[in-house]
Symmetry: C2
């Protein structure tokens, strides 16, 4: 195992085991799709409108290199300055596109399969403010925060991949920022990770660093454990040149991508929800067409994130019924196309870790998960309409996701579980089910027992100090940060990276 | 309008109007059923097991009067001391049972239709502890609390009916308790209300009081605006004599009923979820068979509430993934039978009004609503595994329900909403959608704008005092309690009631 020193690896494994219960009745990757916000004719109408938009309006501001590749793949000139995509071209791309693929963890045991109806929660964000553990107030996020968040989440079973959750605002240079962000990820976790590249020319040097972590030149590309978050489409319906350049470079280095459409209802897309979904689908299809024009079948998470604007203020809002139903619908449409679906949920506008935080996260994450979103981004630790991120939030969200996964797991209807004989025996016998073997087995196998949630009755709660979830989570986050110091890079790897890059931590 | 003095009525109407926005984009009664936790074969297997339980084991401890009625309706002797119900008898009862009916408000504008796939949130509880507005701690609930909760909820549009949420623990006598509970309801609200009757002989006198409120003898029975919560089945699979007596008396006085099965997984019912649902369905069917044996077609809400036990402690737990999926499944099964479904969700084990409170309520209420639960009980204000109730909780839950209703309302897919032409116009024109007529119309019509939720960015939030939802809700609850003093009984009605009953408030 070249990627970790022997002692470090063992310590890390022990820490991981301690953080996860011996048996998890509802692990990540449960099956969604039981919630269908749209009927099939409604999906077909939205899909048809999206294809009409692509074949009539198409995409504007197409960079020259991309225009050549698109035209070679079947695109045609459309309205002045635009390329349009015939319906058959788009349908062909959907057919040939990657349907399922592996998001590799540097530790292969932590890899996840993307696609089908499996649901995984993970992060996405780019918060610029950290909710300070000591003051309970926000301050600019730092590189030290990013290291702390990375090792905190390393212990949380329900963060299935880790995209850098905050921006190190204390690193002014863009190249330093991208390098040090990637370093924080590989130093502190062996889960699948993800980041953004500010510019295409940052990709190659960072891959050299990832190669060092992977054990040698070319090793990263063989099992790429980092994916890129890119927004190559600017709503409405045009490409963004810098992001398109990053796409080319990621494909050249075999970095899988989440191509994210983040249109905003009423601002960069229609406020009517059906129209919003049609445009946003067209835009994410334009990303898929692009990726497949460059390299057919290249892995791309179809990340169609419907964003809501509070039209009273023009500000983005992440925690509402509109967000819930739109992201659920987006997941449903993408799964209907057979593509790996990425949505953004479990978001909140709350700044405090309070009842608003819980309700908005609970509603949006359950909706997206029940609808079968494969990768649910922004789902851990994010606060304040994605402007903020919180240590306490991370540990609370991890437990909330277990409840969601437990709901998704559903009800196993088998002869054994229906238990006709067990019921007859109990009713005609002791008159209750306590202590029976049938009960004990189910208790161990089927029920999730939260570690943080307070289930005491009021008096006991008051006797224990009348604490709220924020306070309980603060203690837990502090304990993890005090005790979990994983060593996922060997001293030699660290030295080689520091010799070649300006590592600021 | 005999039930309210002229000035009082106008004042009440003004208060009501002030509490509800001019236009509600997602009012109560949205359509559920988009979430189907069970497949049709799974429902059939659970249903079949329930019918087998009723025809094989049947019900124990059947009171004599009920036994006669049941035998007349087709029941037969079963195992010693038990009556069994042939499959055809139960299927016939389901066919003839009331499918849809009106829960009358004393104000007819506040009546609701129960049945189909319409979803309404309301209360159910019998909390014995109130979360004190001043101390933030729990203390025994009082009659004064019940009056305060009744007039508080009177302003909340998303409490569609009001079951007394707490028990006046300062009223020791059971008859006084039932009388004063009913009085608190009719004095403070004209919504549909509900209560429990400790004993059958309390029913007739209380109906006399309801007649006074309704405008004269016999007036209540013509449009009964109060329903009874009764648990006539004691799990597993036996009747409870006192509650059965109350059922007879309620039917005699035309009081519609919620017959509630509250089996506890692993204690009074199997811990395996499929077996639990089968037994609990059999038990609620036994209530339905009873009601229809006494009076065919009498309105009964099929209230199959799956309750979860934390098997580590034996305590009831209301806020979990298990609760979410089981209550959703219960709603789905009842709706499949075509009966009016009652489930219990939007519950929490939290004592504080905190992130745990929000997440548990968000997850359980969305699940039950998406599954189409017609009446979702316990959904407002309840805390502490139903042991507690909170003023702040009521106002926060009201806003949360709007998000849930907004999600339920779904996405209207029409040519107009798909907006192909509007998108083309914007893309080829200004390049955005801000300020267009299409956007303005949608903003007014399709989006819910919360009044309590904080959507400010972190700095503004901090500048305004870094408040949490508990604190914001406390202010709102206090303001309502200070200003909303409805007068739903005329001075003459109050005098007549006080002359005939020991009114303690």
């Amino acid at each position: 195992m070249p990627e970790q020193g022997k002692r470090g690896g063992r310590r890390a494994r022990l820490a991981q085991r301690a953080a996860k219960p011996a048996f998890d009745p509802c692990p990540p990757g449960q099956i969604g799709g039981q919630y269908k916000p749209l009927t099939l004719p409604e999906i077909a109408a939205i899909h048809d409108t999206a294809l009409r938009l692509l074949e009539t309006l198409g995409m504007g501001e197409v960079p020259d290199r991309l225009a050549q590749d698109l035209i070679a793949a079947g695109a045609r000139p459309g309205p002045p300055g635009r390329l349009v995509f015939p319906r058959s071209m788009v349908e062909g791309v959907v057919r040939q596109a990657a349907k399922r693929f592996t998001l590799h963890g540097r530790d292969p045991a932590r890899s996840i399969e993307v696609g089908g109806d499996r649901v995984h929660f993970g992060t996405g964000g780019a918060a610029v403010q950290t909710l300070d553990l000591d003051s309970g107030l926000y301050r600019p996020s730092t590189l030290a925060d990013l290291h702390d968040f990375s090792r905190l989440q390393d212990t949380l079973a329900n963060v299935s991949w880790f995209t850098r959750c905050c921006v190190a605002t204390d690193v002014p240079d863009n190249f330093d920022l991208d390098v040090n962000t990637a370093y924080a990820l590989i130093r502190n976790t062996t889960k699948p990770v993800a980041t953004s590249f500010t510019l295409a020319e940052h990709v190659a040097p960072i891959v050299r660093m990832l190669d060092i972590a992977a054990g040698g030149q070319g090793a990263f590309a063989e099992r790429p454990f980092l994916k890129a978050h890119i927004s190559p489409v600017i709503s409405p319906l045009r490409y963004g040149e810098d992001a398109v350049d990053v796409v080319y470079e990621c494909i050249a280095h075999n970095i899988p991508m989440s191509c994210i459409t983040a249109a905003q209802a009423g601002a960069t897309a229609p406020a009517t929800m059906a129209g919003f979904l049609a445009q946003s689908l067209a835009e994410t299809l334009a990303s898929l067409v692009m990726v497949n024009a460059i390299k057919p079948g290249f892995p791309m998470v179809f990340s169609n994130w419907p964003f809501i604007i509070d039209l009273r203020t023009g500000a983005f809002s992440g925690g509402s019924g509109e967000t819930a139903v739109l992201n659920a619908a987006s997941a449903q449409i993408t799964n209907w196309l057979g593509l790996p679906s990425g949505v953004a949920c479990s978001m909140t506008d709350a700044k405090a870790i309070d009842a608003q935080y819980g309700a908005e996260k609970g509603i949006t994450s359950l909706a997206a998960a029940l609808a079968g979103g494969n990768l649910i981004y922004e789902s851990s630790g994010m606060t304040a309409s994605l402007l903020g991120v919180s240590f306490e939030g991370f540990v609370l969200d991890d437990e909330m996701h277990s409840h969601t996964y437990r709901a998704l797991r559903g009800i196993e209807v088998t002869e054994e579980n229906l238990g006709f004989d067990a019921i007859c025996q109990s009713v005609l016998g002791e008159g209750h089910f306590l202590g029976s073997a049938h009960t004990h087995a189910a208790m161990e196998r089927d029920y999730f027992y939260p570690a943080l949630a307070d289930r005491a009755e009021p008096r006991s709660w008051q006797d224990s100090g009348a604490r709220d979830a924020w306070s309980t989570a603060r203690d837990r986050a502090r304990e993890i940060l005090r005790t979990h110091h994983p060593q996922y890079l060997s001293p030699e790897q660290k030295a080689e990276i520091r010799a070649n890059f300006r590592i600021l931590s």
